[in-house]
Every structure is written in structure tokens, then in C-alpha cells.
């Protein structure tokens, strides 16, 4: 990545911070309109848009979902037959590589949000596309990994370990898939100009979700793969 791109991104980030200082771009609900407030835009009590607040709440709720799944895995991770446990199955270099791919997608997501804030539609779509592609690559890696495990005899119902492992990583994989659908849909809606309200914020919402899914993977990767049973 060239220096100019980095400095541009930093500049954008500063600009975003400025733009969002006291921003009130709530867009898809007019029900709470307060017309005595004539600063334009729509007033919200917290000054944070409804959509963004809702996304944060949803992600808060998701923490408990993954918390439950991770607890289940931690409880059962040693309950497997002798030759089909983490020690025999994990291919740390491979999973590290796919993890790196997923984390890189967070970077491209940031670039997409930054481009959207610059109203640079072309780059927004490119970066969204790259993010989706990296996400798909991660997913392909996961599918490959699952296939390898299955060939070695680890089915969903083989042991408590396998069930809880596939459930946890499967749930994460479904989240990544939904994220990819959101990214692709966002590209389509940006192209057809079907986004109602603030386009930059819509991209940012997908970004929040995407980063969350990445952070969850960091936790899963650490707890499931890196810490020895």
C-alpha cells in the first residue's frame, strides 16, 4: 500500500470524525420528526442515528449468542476419541492464512466506508467487492477445512467435541455468508441507486457488522485453535 493512500485514508478518517461530530443523519424514519429543530436533518435525543444505535444493540445481543456457543465449545472441547481431537486435526498454518484473509477484509471494509464518506462511488463498490471476495475466500478455506476434517472421520455427530466445534464455527460461517450477501446487495443497490437515505451510512452499517464478525473470529481462532486443549 502506497504512502499516499495511507495519508489519504488518515485524512478521510479525520474528515469522517469531523463530519460525524454531532451528526444526526437519521434517515429512514420520519415518525419522530421534530420540526421545531430547523438545523436540517432529523433530530434524535442522543444525536446518534437510529440505525446505527440499532446496529450496536444488535451486535451487543450477538455477543451473548457467540458467548453461549463458545462456552459450549469450551465445555466439550476435550470430549473426543483419542485420535480425533484438536491435536490431530488442526492445521494452524492453514487456518492462520485464512484468518489473515478475513482480517484483511476488515481493512478493505474500512477503505470502502472511507470511500463512501468521500462520495467516491466507484472506489466504494470496488472495496466492497474486494471485501466480499476476501470473505468468500475465507469461507472457501473453512469449507476446505471442514472437508478435510470430515475425510479424517470427524463428522458433525462424531463426538461432543465435533458437534460443538462445527456448531460454533458453522454459526460464524453463516454470519460471514450473510455479510457477503449484504456486501453484494450493497454493491447492487449502490449501482441502481436504490439505497434509501444516506448511502455512506448504509455502507457503514454493513461495515459495523463485518468488523464484528471479524472480531468474533479473532476470539474463536484464539480460543479454539491457538490455546492448547
Amino acid at each position: 500500500m502506497s504512502d499516499s493512500l495511507i495519508s489519504e485514508t488518515v485524512k478521510d478518517a479525520v474528515q469522517i470524525a469531523k463530519d460525524h461530530n454531532g451528526d444526526v443523519h437519521e434517515h429512514d424514519v420520519h415518525a419522530g420528526d421534530n420540526h421545531s429543530d430547523d438545523h436540517g436533518g432529523h433530530h434524535t435525543s442522543l444525536g446518534l442515528s437510529n440505525t446505527k444505535l440499532a446496529m450496536w444493540l444488535f451486535l451487543g445481543s450477538e455477543c451473548l449468542l457467540f458467548g453461549g456457543l463458545i462456552s459450549t465449545y469450551m465445555l466439550y472441547r476435550n470430549r473426543h476419541s483419542e485420535n480425533l481431537g484438536p491435536d490431530q486435526l488442526w492445521d494452524i498454518p492453514f487456518t492462520s492464512a485464512t484468518s489473515f484473509v478475513l482480517l484483511t477484509s476488515s481493512l478493505t471494509m474500512v477503505l470502502a466506508v472511507s470511500a463512501a464518506n468521500r462520495k467516491d462511488l466507484r472506489n466504494t463498490k470496488i472495496y466492497l467487492g474486494v471485501t466480499a471476495l476476501l470473505g468468500a475466500l475465507f469461507l472457501a478455506g473453512q469449507i476446505y477445512e471442514f472437508t478435510v476434517f470430515y475425510r479424517e472421520g470427524l463428522g458433525f455427530t462424531t463426538s461432543l467435541f465435533s458437534s460443538s466445534f462445527f456448531t460454533l464455527t458453522g454459526f460464524h460461517g453463516v454470519h460471514v455468508s450473510i455479510g457477503i450477501i449484504m456486501l453484494v446487495a450493497m454493491i447492487g443497490m449502490l449501482s441502481k441507486e436504490k439505497v434509501s437515505g444516506d448511502e455512506a451510512e448504509a455502507v457503514e452499517m454493513v461495515g459495523l457488522y463485518w468488523h464484528f464478525v471479524d472480531i468474533v473470529w479473532i476470539i474463536i481462532f484464539t480460543l479454539v485453535y491457538l490455546i492448547p486443549a
Partner: protein, 672 residues
Amino acid sequence: MAIIERPAEAPATTNRGSAPTPKASTNYGYLRRPVETTGWRSWAFTVDHKKIGIMYGAVAMFFFILGGLEAALIRLQLAGPDGTILSADKYNQMFTMHATTMVFLFVMPMAAAFANYFIPLQIGARDVAFPRLNALSLWVFVFGGVFLNTSWFLGGGADGGWFMYAPNSSVPFSPTNGVDFWGLGLQITGIASLVGAINLIVTVLNMRAPGMSMMKMPIFTWMAFVVQMLLLFAIPVITVALFLLMFQRSFGAQFFSVEAGADPLLWQHLFWIFGHPEVYILVLPSFGIISEVLPVFSKKPLFGYPFVVFSGAAIGFVGWGVWAHHMFASGLGPVSVAVFSVATMAIAVPTGVKIINWTLTLWGGKLTFTTAMLFAVGLIVQFTIGGLSGVTHAVAPSDTQQTDTYYIVAHFHYVIFGGAVLGLFSGFYYWWPKVFGKLLSEPLGKWNFWLMIAGMNLTFGPMHIIGLQGQPRRMYRWTEFRAGEGFFNLGFWNLVATIGTFILGVGILLFLINVWITHRPNSKTPPAPADPWDARSLEWITSSPPKEYNFARTPQVSQLDEFFHRKYEDVGEGDKHEYVQKMTGEEVIQFEEDNADPNIHLPAPSYWPMVLAFALPVMAYGVIYNTLLIVAGGAIATMAMFGWALEPADAESSDFDPPVEGDETSKELANV
């Protein structure tokens, strides 16, 4: 997104009936917004929080009656020795479905009905933050509830008890599809609760009227807000548990099979981490309701409003640290038991704070015992009884004796019926004129109240005795041989409990009769006055029933109990307060309407929430019967989500009347 935009002078109700027929839109084809404002379509596709609230309430009331009938069958079975009305199997299904229906399909959605209807009104908003998501919550709940109950016709209901412990929930012990229906049904209604929680939290945080800080919010809104926070974090935990159960039953995993080396306590922990906050989810809305009702009928402000708020929030926090007191008998070990025992005693403190605040609100007040007030006072008394027996469970050695006996059944009915349900009934009588514009009959209401109080004490009171005598809570029959002698004879008290159930049933029937008498076609009940109770909070600063835009102008809030302070002026000196009336409620409302906002935007109705909600039970049937159905349901859901996202923000111009002259944006919905 506007369906009503009007110039300042023209009242929004003009032009009704004279509107020309709307022309079909061509621009978006099937992605038009529905515009009907009459007939069933105006309800099915509505995004109006008030209509959604009413529908929530009506459906919840239906499930209340259904759950009540299930309870009646249980009590009939136990009325005498060797009951023959139900088989052991049917009895198991009956108590499981009774509890599930009452908790998930009656109390939670009824509280959601109140929250939906009154939160926007109490904070001075025109609707919730996400009106279409609100409609989604409603329809997901309705379809989920119906799905859950179709199990009766498809091989029998769930039969593992409402907390569905392993191994009772596994296929060998429950081979019918009942548990599958139960798990998937709760999964679906859980989505409704989660979506509703996000929506209402955003509404409360972001859409308060100017001047309404958090500490000026009406107390019901505060308590409902705490409940939504609990739901937000509790629902995902039960979601995990239910997914694991589904994988176990439908896809061969062994999460809860001891024979495969699994830990059956996993389910218990996951369930109760959800389940104990759930208890507060059930009761806090009612605490909020009676905290509105008691001040109004005592003619005093709520005593210690900040204490009531913070004790509610404290219950919300501590409620997360007490779940294992449901598991004292499962062998957790002395340290865990001691910790959870102490935490459980601690949570009685904020609850006690509330009871003291309510009592001191009554103290020295000018009390008027309307039906709403009777139910509110009834709650204080009955809930306190339940709270005290609850503290006896907190003492772990005593709990070990009580676990799985009728004593537990007595306790949780005193807190859930005596707490949650009495509060909801208080809310019915208090807010009925607000919602429907008519007062329910007070004499009939008093009969309703006293029969319910007598009925509930006769039903649940004796359960303390039969529980301490050792009758297990889920035994489908008892025998004369082991019923005991004299005062402690199980037979006598079981019969009393059954008689009590029917008295309780008559009380609830009187409520339905009261509603019918008030609203039957040629009812003589006059419209209610705008401010029948001399109320205090913001929802009364508008007509009853409120217009679809709620407030003629967005209220400016300067005080807690805003409506009261607009009606009354403090003429006392120094620390003495003396309030004299300067305006009547009608005048306050009239003043607001005379100064109406020039433009009011309201969200347009939508087809998609219902379509999306419909996809969920299709997928759920697919899990049980045929994978193809999962695919079909998934396709419907995907289509609905894209329809949702691509739907135009507003109805078509051709769907409106021609613009009112002089104001380009002023449109009145056609077909009003």
C-alpha cells in the same frame, strides 16, 4: 414516507370519504406501499404502533384464554384422587403448554402490547424508531404462537415441562414432535422479542420529546426500557440453547446426552441464564404500570421516583447473577450454592425498595379505589406474599426441601399471577379509555377484581400447604392412600385449589363480558372524557383514542408528570406545595390541538413484515418434516428482505389526493 402531511390549519381528519379512488401505480409494480386505511388491510399491513399494540394485546388475550383452559384441565385432573380426565402423557403436555403459553404467548406479548402502545405516547414520539420492524415483531410472534400450538394437532404438544430439562427433552423420552415444535416455536417468538427490544430501546433513547431527559420519563417507560434491555441480552442465550436442542433432536448431535459423555447441566445453565432475567421481563412491566396507577389514584406524585427507577435498573443488573438458584438441587457444589443464595437474597432488596415506595405513595394520599387502583394495590399485597416465599427458596437448605414440590408452584404463581397479571389488569382498566375512548364498567370491574383475588388465593394459597406436605409439582395424579389426615389432607386442599381456579376463571370471564358490554354494537356506554382519572403523564396530552399521528404538536416537556404540571400550579410557599388547578385536561389538550404542527410525517404501511414473518414457520415445519420446506421458507424470507429493502420510501403520488393548494408537499392519503 409521509402518509399525512397537512397545512397548519386543516385538521387531519378532513377529506375523509370524499377522496377519489387511487390509481394503480406503475413505477414500482409489486413494490408499492399499501395505502388502505380501512378494512383488514389497514390492520394487516399497518406500521402504526397503536394498532400493532392493540393486535399484540388481542392475540395475547386469546392465548391467555387458551392457557387458562389448559390450567383448568390440570386442576380438574387433580381435584380428586386418581384423576381420570387426562392420561399421564396428556397431563405432561398440558402443564408444559400451559406454562409455555402463559409465559411466552401471554405475559410477554401483553407487556409488549403495553410497551408498544404507550412508550411512544409517553415520550412524545409519533411512532417507534423502526415502524416496519415493529410490524415484523408482531407478525413473527403471531405466527410463532400459532406454529407452537399446531403441535396439538400434529402428534401432541411438548411434554418436558416449560424448562425442558435434559434428558426429558431428548428423543427417547419424548418421541413425538412436541418438543421440536416447542423449541422452534420459542426460537421464532424469540426473534419477535429481540427485534422488538432493539426497536423500543432505540425509541426510548433517541425519540424523546424535547426536554424529556431520562429522569423525566414516565415510570412505565423506564420499566419497559429495563425489560427491553433484559430481552436484548437474554434472548440470544435461549437461542443458543434451543439451537443445541434442535441439533440434538433433528440432526443427531449429543449435546445433552449423558450416555455420550455430555453434561446435562449445560442446558440448565443456558436455560436459566435466560430464564431468570425472564422472570423480571415478566414482572417489571407490571411494576411500571402500577407505578403509574398508584400516584394517579392517590393524588400524589410517585414517592421517590429516582429510587423506583434505579431499583428497577438494579433488578435488571442483579437479575443476571442469580440464575443458579433454580439449580440448588442439581449438585453445583457448596461455593456456587452459597454465592447464588446470597445474590438471591440481595435481589430482594431493590424489590423491597419498590414496595416501600408504592406504600409511601399511598401514605397520606387521597385514595380513590377504582378498579385499576384495586388491581394495583392487589399487586402490592399478592406480590409481597410471593416475594416472601421466594426468599425462603433463597435459603438453599430450605430450597432443597421445596424443589419440585407444589410450594414452588405456589410461589411463582403468586409472583407471576399476583405480580405480572394483576398489574396488566390494572393497566387494562386504567388505559382502556385512552386506547378505546370508552370506560369499562366500574361495578363489573370490581366484581372482576374481587373474584380474581379470591380465586387466585384459593387456587395458589393451598399449594403452599400441599407443597410443604410433599406433593410433587408434576405428578399427574395423587392417591387417597397417601393423602394424609386432618388439616393437612391433600385431597381437601387440592379440591379447594380446583374450586379456586373456577372462581378465578369466572373473574376473568367478567372482564371479557365487561369489554363486550362496553363495545357491543348498540352499547350505551358514552365516550370517555379526555382525562377521566386526572392523570399525570404525557400520554394523556392528546385525544382518546389518539390520532394516528399521536400528538397534534410535539410536546415540549419541562417536568416529570408533565400533564399534571400543565393542569396544576404550585401556589405553596417555601417547602410547602399546594397545587391549584389552572386548566382542565380538556383545555390542555385543546391548547395543543390549536397549536398543531404544520407538517406531520408518518411512516407508510408495508406488506413485507408479514411476508417475512410468514417465512419463519415455513422453515420451522421444514426442520420437522421436510428439508425442501426450509429451502422454500428461506426463499420467501430472502424475497421479503429484498422487497423490504427496495420498497419505495413512500406511497406513490398517484395513491394520494391531489396536493392541497398552496402547499406542494401536503398530501392526504386517498382512500382514507
